[in-house]
Symmetry: C2
Subunit: 450 residues, 2 copies
Amino acid sequence: VSKRIVVVGGLAAGPSAASKAARTNGSASVVLLEKSPHTSYGICEIPYFISGEVDGSRLVSYTPDALKERKQVDARAHHLVEEISPGKRFVSVRNLKTGKTNQEYYDRLILATGARSKRLNVEGEDARNLFFVRWLDDAYQLKTYLQEEKPKTAVVIGAGYVGLEMTEALTRCGLQVTVLHKSSLPLSYMEHEVRERIRSIIDGQGVQFHGMVRTEGFVLGRDRKVTHVVTSEGTFDCDLVIECVGVEPQTELATAVGIRTGSFGGILADQRQETNIDNILAAGDCCEVRNIINKKMMYLPLATISSKTGWVAGENAAGGNAVFRGAIRAIAIRVFGLEVIQVGISSEEARDSGFDVVVDSITAWSKVGIMPGATKLTVVTIADRKSKRLLGANIYGSEGAVLRGNTLAVAIQQGISVDDIQQWDLAYSPPFTPLWDPILVAANSLRKKL
Amino acid sequence: VSKRIVVVGGLAAGPSAASKAARTNGSASVVLLEKSPHTSYGICEIPYFISGEVDGSRLVSYTPDALKERKQVDARAHHLVEEISPGKRFVSVRNLKTGKTNQEYYDRLILATGARSKRLNVEGEDARNLFFVRWLDDAYQLKTYLQEEKPKTAVVIGAGYVGLEMTEALTRCGLQVTVLHKSSLPLSYMEHEVRERIRSIIDGQGVQFHGMVRTEGFVLGRDRKVTHVVTSEGTFDCDLVIECVGVEPQTELATAVGIRTGSFGGILADQRQETNIDNILAAGDCCEVRNIINKKMMYLPLATISSKTGWVAGENAAGGNAVFRGAIRAIAIRVFGLEVIQVGISSEEARDSGFDVVVDSITAWSKVGIMPGATKLTVVTIADRKSKRLLGANIYGSEGAVLRGNTLAVAIQQGISVDDIQQWDLAYSPPFTPLWDPILVAANSLRKKL
């Protein structure tokens, strides 16, 4: 049976789902509808485009034409889906170039409508020198603004990972950056000592970090440019504002037809990425996701999860039988010279989830200490005393932190005990790893506390 | 009950066992006897000392005095154990400085007698410019020879990992190196395509590699220096010879009292590192080790296993209850600019062990491809079709190979299926890892063949 599969959304989960559907069922007709001019590009690379490390022309992985030719997906940019008719199984689509509307029938519909930037909803937020970092056009506009107007100072609102990446990018561009953050330290979910270390790293780069700040509005000059950011802790002058206060799922299409959403506002899909409405699946940043460790739903808009849930939705829409098992939260970030990774749940989340939490922290050589360039890593581990399972870990250091974090990510999602980790047979080679890898040092230290 | 624990051997497993015993039972009296002047040093760092990357004065981790002061181990260098009397529980020890012999009584004896370099047993092997790479004094003598006699050409016999590391070290020192190897390609246990890649890397550095060569003898000049190496494939001129043809367990003390050894000549200890003779344990390179994957015994003289089995022996000798679960073989090596790692069993071993073997190979970006300095990794995977378990992997590339190999090492020893690996939630961050980590790309590709 040949099938018609319609995918709404062309950024990450959408192309992943559409490509997988076309691969799974070669006779299926797969249509992808995207409202913007762009499909399949790397949001996560935007800070590196701004910093000048990445060429802007290479941010797009697959244009609509490439999706057609190389993935057998009928991808259409400038196509806005305005409504779903689940009974008659069609979507109403407006061609934003011609203004015309038509109906696209589907056997299976995949919603990959993504997330949008949260806004502060304060005065002056539409200023000409205030940017969000979400869509490719945001990035191009910001890059042009930097090149043409040569701002000297910037305020970054929000010190989540995107805020920190943008802080680094703008600092690399020579701007004096001030970071305003709602909490006392950057990032959430990481352990206190790691957040303190990140703060000290950005301080050391001349960034002005202000914690416990509520942004109340923007004072605009005559040319619609912010001149001052008004906050609970005073006003801050600047030539440029970047707002990075998080994202929220775009679910209007879904909720209009009764698709269930969760407490974070994201679509609740099952392990097959199917929604509660027949023949409609969902994937990516418009969905909530189950945490493998504490079984709770979370909202985790990450490209890794988008592509995985996209695959699962695409395969199932095309008649396959794939399952998405959930996520642990695995986030890595470069903070100037520091590699930082967080995997699994935080000690606070672990306590809230009822685990008998043990936290430990060690510092150990990343490679053999007497080798040239050897540096130290800090490994913070979070475990459950009762099951002796590893629940989470943070690692930071100049090198070798992220990939080791991924190794601990495996232990966390596979439910491996700290006793097992301590016994792991890992390679040792002076230029790369010490006799006792920091992971083993961490497991051994943690084990003594369990 | 206070205990007297005697450890024979002071290189890797011995100090590990002795320190652990002293930590486990603070009232125990722990004596370590080492025949050479040196204790607790890094054999694995010797090539990096020769290359000039590591300061020779830093090769020793713990001198006998440091073991005394910091580890509460009564460590005695220049003490050769000549005989064990298991009935009366003492060892006969000769003080090599005074020539006197005395008896050291024990409640528990730990044999950590290590391994010695294999020899070719051909004419001229005791030449003044022929070196083995095993003991610290070998290294110091070689370094002195290089500095004083300034050899221009070297022949390295054996292209195992030590041979390759020495080849790189001598090349870095400016010598023209010829490698003579018994097989057609360097290294064993790695997959054919990886061995070919390593060969092409060393070729590219100007090293002359000759495979399928049997060394038959050395022609010496008047000053007891090798001038030519005589082989099955002709003679090779040189100013210096390094022999790296493997090591063998030193078990004379053990076999003299009836301690069982295996088919590789190594001591057979149980999971508690206890031998078949009451109150005698063994650890390190004098022992064979069980392979976790195929359950076969293997001889695997690696520092990682020495330190782990040392810990287990030390803890148990002191009244603890530790278990060594075995090893998978995890070996990493730098070959000039290339990181190479091999974990688990080879496809050949897997076939010999009765697995229904599937081998796959992929190439993928180590970090996001458009980031500056992005390079590709090759991941070769070996799996069992029936259980879908990963059995082994080889990874090589300019960066990020070794630590990813360690992540796959975890999958191999924990018996994780390829289906599970493909679902792993791993971090993605452009400077460090791509959206689909090479591990996931490899698992996805391998999965299609299962």
